[in-house]
């Protein structure tokens, strides 16, 4: 008989976004004329930048000619993209990253769910709460936890609570863990870690010999030049941190698919005999054995995001979304809401009105304002009583949404 992975059964039957979809479909079936505005899932709406479109066309043409056709590429990514990343994202900010410390992939969701594989099954893993569900679910599926408790938490994971008192940026835990997932600018809370906060994390990781998995998928949305955009801007981080980056939100690649992960050769783990092992070597093994490189056409598109034109065009898109975020923040504050995030991230995290639960607020916003957001409780117990709105939409829809919310909640 074929014995199955029993750990999958520990996951909740209904995932957050399908449940949202179900409720929206039910509402629309009853109100076919309602114009629903979606500020739920964090998906971009602006088209690809012209420089990226041009680069992808050129790459498609190359693939159509024998002399320039490309078959299997290097699993770690083409030099033209790796070099652009190394220079523009790191060297320009004083961080030296070697080419073989960068691994191009088809998406951060894959990277952030696959990275746990290089750690022991017994590794103790810490996550923040609220949290991007993929960090948790991938560890549950790997068998690092027990079944979830009544509070929705998994025994075996260490939860670090983000709340208003700590600005949704929890401090390092007192206890030792092997691995911690951090996300800044944060999904879902839209808050960002300061240099001082990251310095405390790096000091903690080095003291406890822990590894930080730093998800910087939203770093392009940081508007204050004093804030670190990479954890490697912190002294000592190259000894303890792996960084994840994505083109999804910085270049509109959610449907194009490209991301990368940085694993410095100086980050080590420990094998059962107590020997130090380079995590770069482990990830290189994982990446080359189980992945066959990102699409050539896609990598050419990603590289174009670093060209002067591509950079200017994508920065304009980011500025557009961040103006949406500013309007939402100001409009909702004026409507009486307490808002977090939305200054260095395309997400706003708001306290629900009148102490409503996240899902009560979801239903009220859908029914009264025809607006879809994401219940904070979907990101963990500490998200209860909060709600995520995304700034990815047209200006007209954002303005319409603000007007509707102000009318409904004045």
């Amino acid at each position: 008989m074929a014995r199955i992975n029993e750990h999958y059964a520990k996951l909740p039957a209904s995932y957050l976004f399908p449940e949202i979809g179900r409720r929206v479909r039910a509402y629309q079936a009853e109100h076919p004329d309602a114009k629903v505005i979606r500020l739920g899932i964090g998906d971009v709406t602006e088209p690809l930048a012209p420089a990226i479109v041009a680069a992808m066309h050129a790459a498609v043409d190359e693939m159509g000619k024998r002399e320039t056709f490309r078959g299997y590429g290097p699993e770690q990514g083409y030099d033209f993209l790796v070099d652009a990343i190394r220079k523009a994202d790191y060297a320009s900010r004083g961080v030296e990253i070697a080419a073989d410390e960068i691994f191009v992939s088809d998406g951060s969701k894959c990277d952030s769910s696959n990275i746990q594989e290089i750690f022991a099954l017994a590794a103790r893993v810490a996550v923040t709460d609220p949290v991007y569900p993929v960090y948790v679910d991938s560890n549950v599926m790997a068998g690092r936890t027990g079944p979830s408790g009544a509070d929705g938490r998994y025994p075996g994971l260490v939860y670090l609570v983000g709340n208003e008192a700590n600005g949704f940026q929890p401090e390092p835990p007192a206890e030792a863990v092997d691995v911690v997932y951090l996300c800044s600018p944060n999904n879902p809370t839209g808050t960002v870690a300061t240099r001082a906060q990251l310095e405390r994390w790096v000091a903690w990781a080095r003291k406890h010999d822990a590894v930080i998995l730093f998800d910087a998928a939203y770093e392009s949305y940081i508007s204050d030049p004093a804030l670190p955009r990479s954890i490697y801007e912190i002294e000592g981080a190259k000894e303890c941190a792996i960084e994840l980056r994505s083109f999804s939100k910085r270049a509109g690649f959610t449907g194009v698919r490209c991301a990368f992960i940085v694993v410095p050769k100086t980050v080590t783990g420990t094998d059962p005999a107590g020997k130090r092992v380079s995590l770069n070597a482990l990830w290189a093994r994982r990446h080359t054995t189980k992945f066959n490189g990102a699409s050539y056409v896609v990598q050419r598109g990603a590289a174009a995001a670093y060209s002067p034109e591509g950079l200017a065009q994508t920065q304009q898109q980011i500025a557009f979304y961040m103006e949406n975020a500013r309007l939402l923040r100001e409009g909702l504050t004026a409507a009486g809401f307490t808002i977090f995030g939305g200054t260095h991230a395309p997400y706003l995290w708001l306290r629900t009105a009148n102490g409503a639960s996240s899902w009560e607020f979801f239903d009220r916003l859908l029914n009264e304002s025809q607006i879809v957001g994401t219940p904070g409780a979907g990101f963990g117990p500490a998200g209860e009583g909060y709600f995520r709105l995304s700034a990815f939409n047209s200006r007209a829809n954002i303005e319409e949404a603000i007007g509707r919310i102000r009318r409904a909640f004045r």
Copy 2:
């Protein structure tokens, strides 16, 4: 301290293809004028078909306009591609596969290394020998084996030996296993399973309640219409088999990246309480949690391979490679070699000359004929004494290679 996955250390330090690359580079450094012909790695050489190029251009244009831009797509793949697969690959051969039994991905290497995740760590896994290394390595990395023995085999795996006596198509094992990987047309041996052989496999799987992971990445190279191209052409296979397909070799997508996996809802495994669980539900969970859909532009390209023009153009490419295979097979037979495969697959599997080891023959072919192939021993102990040549190259290079081999080995 960060405890690492100790099982990675069980893998051999040097993987097959990097070692080949090392020896070729060393040879070329000493013989800078030598014109080396590469028949080693199984990578296509013909450019993308015009219909595919046109479809990808159109998709890039769509992504560049607000009205037609696409963000996150359905994780399982777009309907236009899933429907094309369902109709052209299955319904046309009398096999009913539902849309939600098909999962589009970015490559068969990912699918074939990820599929083991849905089975228990204790699951007993069988592979053929010789074998595509990814099946073995992904199970080693997951911790299903002990350290490899002196013969290069991993305790914990069941090896089914392919040899000349069984035409490199081993019969089902007497013992019970949970899961078996089959590949037909076979990589590396180029041999193909007959209907009768697949019927014995399906009967065996149903008797032992085992699951067959059927890798049909090379099905487009089957030239005999009587041979099954899908395992689902065998009665009862939808109760016991998962099938993997790829656009890499059928449409020249090794650098474009698209594949799919079929998990019928009727294939079940067993949980620790003895309850039947649908593998389709498990894989859907894995796919949606850890993957974010294949690139839209790529999926449009893959769908174009099913259009009348795309089909005609890609079939012409396959015919071109298969004519290469025929020339190689006849030329090498005339040179005195014993050849297997190459009739329904782009690979030839040849017995080395004069009982040389696989690597001795590799060195001799490189030094005397400036031809790179793949040592059979790289695919497992039973590959020792054999050698794989790929038919992916220009006609001129194939003819040149045949001439060189005939001169060196006459």
